[in-house]
């Protein structure tokens, strides 16, 4: 028999410091899952009362009221009202209030108190309120609300014991708030909240001194964007240069692992499946882990300090030009490393049409998996001449490919917003939280959770997909003495035969068609697939790329090479992205739409490139 664990829900406005309190109360004992049917995270964790009895704590999405305006807020309402599928009604609530923003946060608190559940109020971030010149009277607030009020500083672990003790008392006594506080509408609640807040404030200064001063610089019409772009430059630099030693290490690890597996597993089906299928396939995706961790470090840091809302503010106008809002900026930025975390980050976009558009254009941001493909082709076909002081032709082409992707994304966003994702001009209504110092342990925990989510995905979806592709490439096996290579004889090779007439008009040979099939697992696989097709046996990747470049330069025409580059700007050659899109949009409709439109665009872009280059006699 399992012990009865009371379910306790943390609930409050966004920016009340709920997640920090959740981390402080549960430590590392957390579980992240999804509520069924919606893309809302269910964060739960184990919590102990003073005598060691366990409880289950859930961190509900931040809301402004029980009248939801987003799927997140709907989950919060359904859970506290006890009508969320797959969740029991919490036995008690911890309402988290930002001490520095009482009159606003009490509006929702009054609505929650009217539910009549045993409740404790955490008067959070009292230290920051004091920093901003605010002195509060928790006893007065407790008297007015009719529930215990505990001052807490989640990030400094202050007030947690008192909070647990108060919670224990209200649960044991099944103590409902003793003053019925039901107010019919939000305006009445707001007036009441202002009265209560006013009574609880002992003294205050009229504004948030620190935050206002920082905003004076960070939102300055000239300095603001310069600081933002400098920061973005540093992030890019970090993602692409700091990550490479770790990525190389992981690659070496995968190579060692496959060598070891080759040594211990007897020759045959299983060895081939493990070495060529699992280790090679999953390994090629896991290599991106260092980049994803570095990227998320910066994103979490920007979120935790409160700067993220400012970045969105600065970028909003540009995004508005293509029918999106500043909220789409971060997901799209993440997509430059990898579209998977980018698409996952769209959850913070409240407007459904905005979110869908952002998901659909995320794969157009040049992710790092395209770099190996671009590098090989550029090195082989673009002369390394200088076109200006410090500007080389090769670098210019690479830059052009990035810009091509961004322009493509903007055009697609405009078109989508007036067709399939049609909707009223989206708003950009966003609370700008106060600045605060992040806590290292909270950052580390966030990073660990993202890394784990990514690895789990690599271990499931990507695992299954790579095995499927490996089967296609391995069977049926080429008979002894045949002049055909295995990849030509296999099922994939036969599919390439069918593909050939489709891609022939845009200058792609059968060899290229064959390389495009395994590249569905991840774009950079195209490089090793081409190497296999052209029978290059090189000891390491660099010599392979060099040798491949020479081989390609001899076999491909320049128009074909340029068309191949244009193809990769648009082609959705990444099964994992499709899988994530399916999960985030709850169905097959949008991933299929994404595949169709991106392949269509890729074909047209490659075609135009090929025909133009041919006509120009290149």
């Amino acid at each position: 028999m399992t012990l009865h664990q009371p379910l306790i829900a943390l609930v409050g406005n966004p920016n009340a410091g709920k997640s920090a309190l959740f981390n402080a109360l549960t430590g590392a004992r957390q579980k992240i899952a999804n509520y069924p049917g919606v893309t809302v995270e269910r964060k739960s964790g184990r919590f102990s009362f003073a005598d060691g009895r366990p409880g289950e704590l859930i961190d509900l999405p931040g809301s402004y009221s029980l009248d939801p305006t987003s799927p997140d807020e709907a989950v919060t309402r359904d859970v506290v009202m006890g009508c969320q599928a797959g969740e029991r009604q919490p036995e008690a609530l911890i309402i988290v209030l930002d001490s520095a923003n009482l009159d606003q946060h009490l509006v929702f608190a009054l609505e929650l108190l009217a539910l009549g559940l045993p409740t404790v109020v955490a008067l959070n971030m009292v230290d920051l309120a004091e920093r901003d010149g605010l002195t509060l009277d928790p006893a007065r607030l407790a008297a007015d609300l009719g529930v215990p009020v505990i001052p807490t500083v989640a990030v400094r672990r202050k007030g947690l014991t008192e909070l647990a003790a108060a919670l224990d008392t209200v649960i044991l006594a099944k103590q409902a708030p003793h003053a019925p506080l039901g107010e019919p509408d939000m305006r009445a609640r707001r007036r009441r909240a202002e009265t209560i807040a006013h009574a609880a404030i002992v003294s205050q200064t009229d504004s948030r001194r620190w935050t206002d001063r920082a905003d004076g610089v960070l939102l300055h019409p000239f300095a603001g964007p310069i600081i933002l772009f400098a920061l973005l430059f540093i992030i890019f630099q970090a993602v692409f240069s700091w990550a490479s030693p770790f990525a190389d290490g992981l690659e070496a690890g995968a190579a060692a692992l496959s060598e070891f597996a080759s040594a211990v597993i007897p020759e045959g089906f299983f060895r081939s499946m493990i070495v060529d299928g699992v280790i090679a396939g999953v390994g090629s995706v896991v290599v991106f882990l260092p980049q994803i961790i570095i990227l998320f470090f910066f994103i979490l840091l920007m979120e935790a300090t409160g700067y993220m809302a400012r970045a969105a503010f600065i970028m909003d106008r540009m995004m508005a030009g293509v029918g999106l809002s500043g909220r789409s900026f971060i997901p799209l930025l993440s997509s430059f490393a990898c579209a998977i975390p980018g698409i996952m980050a769209t959850r913070s976009i409240s407007d459904e049409k905005d979110r869908l558009t952002t998901i659909l254009i995320a794969p157009l941001m040049t992710c790092s998996a395209r770099l190996p493909v671009y590098t090989v082709i550029i090195a082989a076909f673009i002369p390394s001449t200088a076109v200006g002081p410090g500007i080389g032709m090769q670098g210019l082409v690479l830059f052009g490919l990035y810009v091509f992707g961004i322009i493509g994304a903007m055009v697609v966003a405009l078109v989508l917003r007036s067709t399939v994702a049609k909707g009223g001009a989206s708003g950009f209504l966003m609370e700008m939280p106060k600045y605060q110092m992040p806590r290292i342990a909270d950052l580390a925990m966030g990073l660990w959770q993202r890394a784990w989510l990514f690895l789990r995905r690599a271990g499931t979806i990507i695992f299954a997909v790579t095995i499927g592709l490996w089967l296609l490439l391995t069977y049926p096996q080429v008979p002894e003495g045949s002049s055909m290579s295995q990849s030509e004889y296999s099922a994939a090779g036969r599919i390439a035969g069918v593909l050939e007439p489709v891609v022939a008009p845009i200058g792609f040979s059968r060899d290229i068609a064959l390389a495009l099939i395994p590249a569905m697992a991840a774009r950079e696989v195209a490089v090793s697939a081409l190497a296999t097709t052209y029978a290059i046996d090189a000891p390491d990747e660099e010599t392979e790329a060099l040798a491949l470049g020479e081989r390609l330069a001899g076999r491909w025409s320049l128009p074909t090479a340029l068309a191949f580059l244009a193809w990769f700007v648009f082609a959705p050659q990444c099964i994992s992205t499709i899988a994530v899109t399916k999960r985030e949009t709850n169905g097959w409709k949008w991933p299929i739409f994404m595949l169709t439109y991106l392949f269509g665009l890729a074909w047209v872009a490659a075609g135009i490139t090929f025909w133009t280059a041919t006509a120009l006699g290149l």
Partner: protein, 112 residues
């Protein structure tokens, strides 16, 4: 001279009229004003709901802290109570203000 006086009076009347029906996006940065009315019909329903949830409602007193960087200085960062809220100008135009800080009594005369 008389024409100048008339111009001065006209300007005063203009400012008075503007002050009574000023829209939120016209509020000078740093000046405080009270929201007189909000035309909910021009706002998408969720946007209106969110505005109200953030306390942007009739009777609230607001100050514009910052404006965006590009043409049109969009969006606007609004301070309401002890909170800062970002809002787009198109939505700010649905909000009518009643200025709290009186227009200075001595208006500068029309430019020479």
């Amino acid at each position: 001279m008389v024409s100048q006086e008339i111009a001065g009076v006209a300007q005063r009347i203009l400012i008075a009229v503007r002050n009574t029906i000023m829209l939120l996006d016209q509020l000078p940065t740093g000046q405080r004003a009270e929201i007189a009315a909000i035309d909910w019909s021009v706002l998408p329903s969720d946007e209106g709901k969110r505005l109200r949830a953030l306390g942007v409602d009739e009777g609230a007193s607001v100050t514009i802290r910052h404006r965006g960087i590009f043409f049109g200085r969009d969006p606007i960062a609004l301070s309401i109570g002890r909170m800062t809220v970002a809002i787009r100008r198109v939505h700010a135009r649905a909000i009518t203000l009643r200025p709290l800080e009186a227009v200075p009594a001595d208006l500068p005369e029309a430019a020479e």
